[in-house]
Symmetry: D3
Subunit: 248 residues, 6 copies
């Protein structure tokens, strides 16, 4: 089984973190490949940056999906995910969706620990768009500048752990999600150090993508996740046009 993980940000250091955690998480026989967005921003914190990341993710997915059994949008917030689920013929998931799926199987109320204050509003909207607002205990976030996006988990592990503890004790969290590709692998490092189960997006996405391939649930021929109706288009990157024209 081959999985494509798309980093919709331009940070190679984050792609490296994604790759490492994805490889550690994958089942025997699963190959993972991580691609980095050719355009965009260092890391997505806002709705506008997510809009850009969604388009970058769409372009990479359109170009490369044919070689893979499933695709993962490897940024928390899942830019482009629901659109790609319509357009691609293989299963697609994202870090937020996958982490929440894991968390829902481990407890009732979930807190998300994020790396910047600004992320909170966008994350909340994404969780609510999945209909999971009632499961959200809180979102707590670092409130300090990040020296390097690839080094967040090293620089701030202790502060992140404190946020998680407070989410448990003050917000009633049953499960902690360590959010954002820059934290990929931190759940693993913190193993046994938090008072409730803790999940991260990359390992969840890899495992759930494997499950979706294994279950062979079939594809949407009708309904709102079937491929977009074929119609006139122009000016699009060739791979996206091919996807829309079903000529892939």
């Amino acid at each position: 089984m081959k999985l494509l993980l798309i980093n919709p940000n331009i940070s190679d250091s984050v792609s490296e973190l994604i790759r490492s955690e994805a490889q550690r998480s994958a089942s025997p026989g699963t190959e993972v490949e991580v691609l980095t967005a050719p355009f965009g921003v260092a890391y997505i914190e806002t709705r506008f940056e997510a809009l850009i990341g969604a388009y970058a993710a769409a372009q990479l997915a359109a170009e490369h999906h044919t070689r893979f059994d499933a695709v993962v949008v490897a940024a928390f917030g899942d830019p482009g995910l629901t659109g790609l689920r319509e357009a691609l013929p293989v299963p697609v998931t994202g870090l937020t969706e996958a982490a929440l799926a894991s968390a829902c199987l481990l407890g009732h109320r979930i807190s998300i620990i994020a790396i910047s204050q600004r992320l909170q509003a966008w994350y909340r909207e994404v969780v609510e768009s999945y209909g999971l607002g009632a499961r959200l205990a809180s979102i707590r976030a670092l409130d300090r500048p990040l020296a390097s996006i690839g080094g967040v988990q090293e620089d701030h592990a202790q502060a992140l752990k404190v946020l998680a503890e407070r989410a448990v004790d003050e917000d009633g969290a049953d499960v902690i999600v360590l959010a954002g590709a820059p934290l990929a692998g931190l759940a693993r490092s913190l193993k046994g150090q938090l008072p409730v189960p803790v999940v991260d997006g990359v390992s969840s996405a890899v495992r759930h993508a494997e499950t979706l391939v294994a279950l062979q649930p079939g594809t949407a021929q009708r309904g709102s996740f079937s491929p977009p109706p074929v119609k006139l288009n122009c000016g699009l990157p060739p791979a996206i046009a091919r996807l829309l024209d079903r000529s892939a």
Copy 2:
């Protein structure tokens, strides 16, 4: 006052409908300009097409906004709207948001009449993302192929009217929204022919954009709609990069 309306689809015929209705709706002293997406699809019906339209709208807005007092994303579903509200220094609205604002001032439960079955899921998600699910009586849609996107309201006026009547009588609609730029102006033509108030997106957006300019509510310097934090970016269209770098 100068308003920019961005058609995030590639259909000039629809841009023409938007322009006509915008001009009819604008207050004295308001100039409107309509731009058509340089890339994308003929009309947006799905999440994937909306993702593309959002990027096209972002690009046009980034390039042209400096000449305008406010910007309207002129497709129902408002692709890119919340992102642009962060990034642009002027008020931004969209056809769905604006039509719902009008409708909320006219009644309690609102039905949306759409031009294709496929549009329903996406429209519903947009309404719910605005927290207005409780106001939605129903979405009803044409179930026939559209010969030409620019001619929908002429070809199907009667069928659309029947859908609106059924929304009132069977779904309890207090107000009807005729949805989609291809229907721009139809509410005006049907004046007096429906048993409840009827609104359309273009005229609502033009009027509400004028109001936002007139009220001078100030801009967001903090909070989730302040401009995205400045950070490294690459590979972006120059106008988008300028917007992100605050060098505009």
Copy 3:
């Protein structure tokens, strides 16, 4: 265009504030007139007082509406609004509804700043009755006695500003609504002093009323906002009886 603003309280000093802000906000060509309730309380803070104010507003509206193109219930909390929307043949809005409509076009989560603690429960119920609970970040209120209802904004401008700042920083507000007719005009005075957009009810109501007149959406002949069915009544003020009997 002629707009009637009804102050459902008996305070002439507040009517004066409403009148000033309405005149400042109105478009060229719009005339505004403000009427003060002939019976009731100094200012409405509770459900019981709102019940009284609703009846006073209904009486004034019934007596005077025929000279106007639209009617505004000029108290936050909108006493009587949904009833009047059924009964009057012209558009009706209220300060809460109108301020929320503006706020929804400027951001996602909204905080309301109120002039007394007691107001909070009632305001919350009104916002929820509009289906907008999900958009409400918080309601924050002054917790000190009000020396004079007409002088609230002068006496407490600084305290109100601090409440708004806290709503942004602690509650995640994207937009601030300065609530209550006694604060009419304060948003204008605070221009540029708050970190997010700020709206008030009077200017929003005036502008949105103008829009509703301009859009000419038609009136409700069926559905829950059509006029109440004609039936036996007795003992009512003549103007209300005329409205119910359709003899106006």
Copy 4:
């Protein structure tokens, strides 16, 4: 124990139905008295009529409450109830609230059977204002003209029963509420003829009012149901002024 039931409509024939069912339902030792609104409409179907009925109910309650241990607003829709709960020093309930309380103790999803189509929107809003929207399976209503409001249950018993049956079989109702004072007593007459428990408002309100008196839960000295703050008022009926001035 003495209970006051206020019919906020002007129909003596309905007051008679209320009186009969209240007497049949009351515990030994409970005296009931029914008063009819001195002004208003024949029966309340709309928000505007409810606004009038609320004021009439307030006036009667203010004048007479001192002789009673509890007060019931005896119209479905409970016009004025939450306001009176603030203002009166004794427990107050209403037909909708009381019928829903009974129904919630008998099953999960509740259907309301109403006597006119027009009533549905208002009833739905009242149920939702009580936070009970999730318990509402459906509202079904007669769709024929009512020859006499006092004779509805005789004229339409069979049609009402059919509506109830359909609510069970098609809407998943676990409990039926026969709504509206004009149906007072019908639940009793239909005993054993419906496939699920059935409740009516008058008997529920009488019994629950007795319970509230018996439990002696205390009154609100703080919070949103404490009496409205004393403040200037003018032009009010003397009994309402006395209530507001705490001089009763």
Copy 5:
């Protein structure tokens, strides 16, 4: 009228508290009997303990219900209640459901005061399962070890009162529910000492059970609370088997 109250815990001291408050609350002519679970835990705080208590309650109810007019599950959290409502031919209620019904008739937002921190999550889920999440202002709980479950209200009356005060002042509670059978009678003792109405589960359940018997609403022959379909079963306590086989 004979009421059976089932304590699904094994604590006789708590059964004694339940019995005393039930007798004080019952109307003349009502006999109450309290039975204690023959197996289980000292007091239920968690979902797993509730599962056990539900089975114990079911067994006692199956064995004894034929001698009673109504049954009360006398633990806050109502273990087994909705199941027993299907299976028993008489009305059934529980402490949470009954206390909430009382509270909903006394105010809008309700706070629950609980005897241990651990109880909060389970209580919240129960309230939400009743569709009453919107009425819940807060759950506040003691955070100290309980020396004896039968002596909680004596040992901690002051601390419980402080929690109630804070719920009113900080959480906006209109009504307080003193939760849990170990607090049976405390609302009565605190009479006049809290600033808002206060209710307890046992007295509410006794009174509401009497009401359900008096109203004679009929039983469910269809719908989700009709008796479980007869089918093969094995290994069950004889009384439960008789109930399922309708051979009771």
Copy 6:
């Protein structure tokens, strides 16, 4: 890895279906064992039967869990699941929860196809208790008697398929869940015959249980899913007592 699947019903034929599908679904290296409830009913359709099944599941889990890496409650509706999640030291999931987790990764709105009308209310409540009501497009169910619970999928495959088609076309389902252990394996047999992805509970539960073991998220030491506090108990099956006393 060893997985325990507990059939909380007494039907060996259903256990056999569960076993077959579990074995087909398990990853290489995973051993599955299925245990059948020693007491209970043939299949659970109601809240009362679920209460019994929960206790049976708890007893089996308490007795056998020490030999396993994870436990699955193998009945749709998940009787006992949230309780067992507190009490057991290994991950636990259930068919409903697991099927919904899969479905949420494949589309937005989900329809559940059930084998009897009676199941619908209970299933709906379970989905809502998971906070997933907004994802539920519909529940549709067979409306005919079941000759044999083990033969449902053979006898009614065509009718079930028609229900699924209608859920897609009339209810807007993006994904179908074939619900209930008696349908274990049907999703696999219908592969390619439905217009949207289809999932079943057993294969989903097996795969997700494997994932939970692989992710090693840690266990709850605090919060609402930590083990119930140790306290007095009596009369319990020895294995349950051991679990509560932490002497296992």
